[in-house]
Amino acid sequence: MKSFIHVQNAEMVFHTKKGRFHALRQINLSVAQGEFVTLIGHSGCGKSTLLNLIAGLTLPTDGALICDNREIAAPGPERAVVFQNHSLLPWLTCEENVHLAVERVFGATESGAMLKARSRAALDLVNMGHAASKRPHEISGGMKQRVGIARALAIEPKVLLMDEPFGALDALTRAHLQDELLKIVARTKSTVVMVTHDVDEAVLLSDRIVMMTNGPAATIGEIVSIDLERPRNRVELAADARYVRYRKEVLDFLYTRHGHVERAA
């Protein structure tokens, strides 16, 4: 498969009031088109920073990031982001939240009715069509996150970037949304880069798991390819020897070799 996102020797240094903080060092990563990659690591290891770099929300101190043969210099709708806390605008209805994105991307070329149909279709895709005219405060956390995913998918991004999208949800809702995400990605064949700290989530969803070492100056420690055929079923996989082995591999990396050391503050 051809490389779609390419990160070359990316370095990230933050200059804060406390001084210089070297967050990421020597990041090299290629993501193929249609691939589902998760970034996993302990908190503070810079996985969200790496995602923000791919999103273009922050620019690297050094190195280059390329998406679809173009350098990433700014955020753009071809790289949609699903934020950890959904970030829906509370004064707009679910549909208007999605429409805001759709209008910006397709507004120049399509009629109002077509834009509306797109917003509706995106909400239907995540099974939220029934709540189109509700405001975010009227729906549950899981539903908000679905609308956030709908907003990201509605603009037909080349890449879907997700920053711990299910981190704030309870375990059952999370499992449910993971299953739905698997179905949606199978249908849309999206390229996905997702940040997570949940080992099961990573193994269940990914084609490859990128495991990061602890910060400061975190880098990619190891990459595991998950050769499990799709569609995947969480109940069947629980007893699958390969699944158990992958899971152990990730756990081993995170807790045995790169156990989280609390830094003195």
Binding site: A55, G76, S87, P90
Partner: protein
């Protein structure tokens, strides 16, 4: 109402949903009255809401009546009421510049407040936006605001008289300078507190500057801005009475001073009630506007 503002008029089905939203907002605001059409009349709740304020007013009038029972310069509640009825029966007469009906006095004061406050809003709100948006500007003007804000309204009056050489613009100037601070400060605070996530959404979607302002910044800042407006109007109404006492002309403040010179204490008491009532109405109007534009943080 708020739903209607943001709904596209194309979709009629949304109107129905917007109507369905309303009970929810009614629940969120305790003082909003329940809709009698659906919920049965809550007699007990109504009494509990009405009795305490009525008792408070009754206690005030009772104490007042007790204290004035033996006579003296201070008028009794009954005298005051009688005088008030006479006064309000002809609120809009005009016998020369120094003898006009109570209605005219109130309207002239309100007009000054409106002009002074309007100018303050026109300057203060955009200034607040700029201060909130640019850190340099914020650090530049915050010592100035800190220095000027605590200054008593009346200290500004001579400056106005000096510059404008007339009483009326000087009074308006005083209102302007006193009511501008809450709007600047609250608008700036609102802009500074727009969640970074919303702005990140705007960056990822690459929204136009116009969309960022109308769809994200303005709705996010509006509740803060309205708080500023409410505080400003309250201040303006406080200041006008004092300013008019000094500048003269037609207005409720001047009227109070005039009646003091006539030793008509009854009229002064009526004026105090009236000023309080108008202030209360202004506050109530702005609170109910603000409530419509406040969103639950999600």
């Amino acid at each position: 109402m708020v739903s209607a503002v943001f709904h596209s008029p194309l979709d009629a089905s949304k109107e129905a949903d917007a109507a369905a939203d309303k009970p929810k907002t009614a629940v969120a605001t305790p003082s909003a009255t329940a809709r009698p059409a659906r919920t049965p009349f809550d007699g007990r709740g109504f009494l509990l809401k009405v009795i305490p304020p009525v008792a408070g007013i009754a206690a005030l009038i009772g104490i007042w009546a007790l204290l004035t029972m033996k006579g003296g310069a201070f008028p009794t509640p009954a005298d005051t009421l009688k005088e008030a009825v006479a006064l309000f029966s002809d609120p809009f007469y005009s016998r020369g510049p120094n003898d006009q009906g109570i209605g005219w006095n109130i309207l002239f004061s309100l007009q000054r407040v409106a002009v002074g406050f309007g100018l303050a809003a026109l300057v203060g709100i955009p200034l607040g936006f700029m201060i909130g948006r640019f850190g340099f500007l914020s650090r530049m003007v915050s010592p100035l605001i800190g220095l000027l804000r605590p200054v008593s309204p009346l200290a500004w009056l001579p400056i106005g008289l000096l510059v404008f050489k007339a009483a009326n613009p000087a009074a308006i100037w005083t209102i302007f300078i006193c009511s501008i601070w809450p709007m600047i400060i609250n608008t700036a605070a609102g802009v500074q507190r727009v969640p970074a996530d919303y702005l990140n959404v705007a960056r990822v979607l690459n929204l136009s500057e116009w969309n960022v302002i109308t769809k994200i910044l303005f709705p996010a800042v509006l509740p803060y801005m309205l708080t500023g407006v409410r505080l400003s109007v309250g201040t303006a109404w406080l200041v006008i009475v004092a300013a008019e006492m000094l500048t003269g002309g037609v207005g409720i403040g001047f009227w109070v001073w005039d009646e003091w010179n006539n030793l008509n204490v009854t009229h002064i008491l009526i004026a105090i009630f009236l000023i309080g009532t108008v202030g209360l109405l202004l506050e109530w109007a702005l609170v109910s506007i603000a409530r419509r534009f406040t969103y639950d943080d999600v």
